[in-house]
């Protein structure tokens, strides 16, 4: 699971192409397409040290067009799964 990218969902019917998500992303991982934001895949964000999860794009979106989903785990579980898939 730790190898699977978890990109946010974009509701293109809500997106007004305001571009705030592009400005907010510290990884510069978002660009604006014709119908909404497009997310590329930085390995690790140089600004925050995380890979996909700061959620700034979701927070700044005034139209609720971007949604991240998360599962909630203890860090020990992440370590066990990483070992089992190594």
């Amino acid at each position: 699971m730790s190898k699977v990218w978890a990109l946010p969902e974009v509701d293109e019917t809500r997106c007004t192409l305001c571009g705030l998500c592009v400005e907010a992303c510290p990884c510069h991982a978002v660009k604006l397409g014709d119908r909404g934001p497009i997310f590329s895949c930085p390995e690790v964000c140089p600004s925050t040290g995380c890979a996909y999860g700061c959620c700034l794009c979701e927070e700044v979106c005034p139209d609720g067009a971007i949604t991240y989903t998360f599962e909630i785990v203890l860090e020990a579980q992440e370590g066990i799964e990483a070992m089992s898939t190594a």
């Binding site: 699971m1 699977v4 995380c50 999860g53 909630i72 785990v73």
Partner: protein, 221 residues
């Protein structure tokens, strides 16, 4: 589409009944399936039935006029809902929708009331279930009224990481509905937890990094 269920003894409350009693009840139990996101019952509408989750996950919630919601519970297999209207004849207490593809068994409200009157074991089992529900809702009221969003969020994260709740993926909006706040507050508080080193958000996961400190947050300390 409803089909008659073959094994009423599988339902909670009926495990103590004998074969003859189960045969008497069976014709009134129906099976229904729902797609993810499909509404099952609406708050305030007349009670049609008592429901039992057989497969899948449902969500019970109350809605305000301005669209805010408070999730009361996520219910999985073997859990019933809509018992209260069957008892008091009032309207549905909450709206319920299917989170995943869901199969339910249903018994019409009036028939369920009759079953309880004729079978004291069923009535006792229902009372025990409602007593547990009163405890749980009392804890929820205390949480919402007396604790901060930080405390409620810490408790929520711990409960779901430890597997004491049905597993699912969460949006910030859903977390807000669960802990009685708005999405923006959840986002802000998660960010504060991340900056304080209590959690890390990465690749579709919220990882609880410092469980000890989160547990202190969860007690309001």
């Amino acid at each position: 589409m409803a089909t008659t269920v073959q094994k009423p003894s599988q339902l909670p409350f009926f495990a103590q009944l004998g074969e003859d009693d189960l045969l008497e009840i069976a014709p009134y139990i129906h099976e229904r399936t729902f797609s993810p996101g499909q509404m099952i019952i609406s708050e305030g509408e007349p009670c049609q039935a008592v429901y039992f989750v057989v497969q899948g996950l449902v969500r019970t919630r109350r809605l305000s006029l301005d669209g805010r919601e408070q999730v009361l519970a996520y219910l999985g297999p073997d859990e019933p809902f809509n018992l209260v209207p069957a008892l008091d004849g009032g309207p549905n207490l909450a709206s319920v929708d299917a989170v995943t593809k869901t199969m339910l068994y249903t018994i019409p409200c009036q028939r369920f009331h009759l079953i309880m009157r004729h079978h004291h074991q069923v009535a006792l089992a229902v009372l025990e279930r409602l007593a547990a529900e009163v405890r749980r809702l009392s804890d929820m009221v205390e949480d919402l009224a007396l604790h901060t969003v930080r405390t409620r969020l810490a408790r929520f994260l711990l409960a779901h990481a430890e597997g004491t709740q049905p597993p699912k993926r969460w949006t910030q909006e859903e977390i807000a509905g669960q802990i009685g706040t708005v999405r923006e507050m959840v986002g802000r508080t998660l960010r504060a937890f991340a900056m304080a080193g209590l959690i890390r958000r990465q690749r579709g996961r919220i990882m609880l990094v410092d469980r000890g400190r989160l547990e202190r947050e969860a007690t309001g300390g």
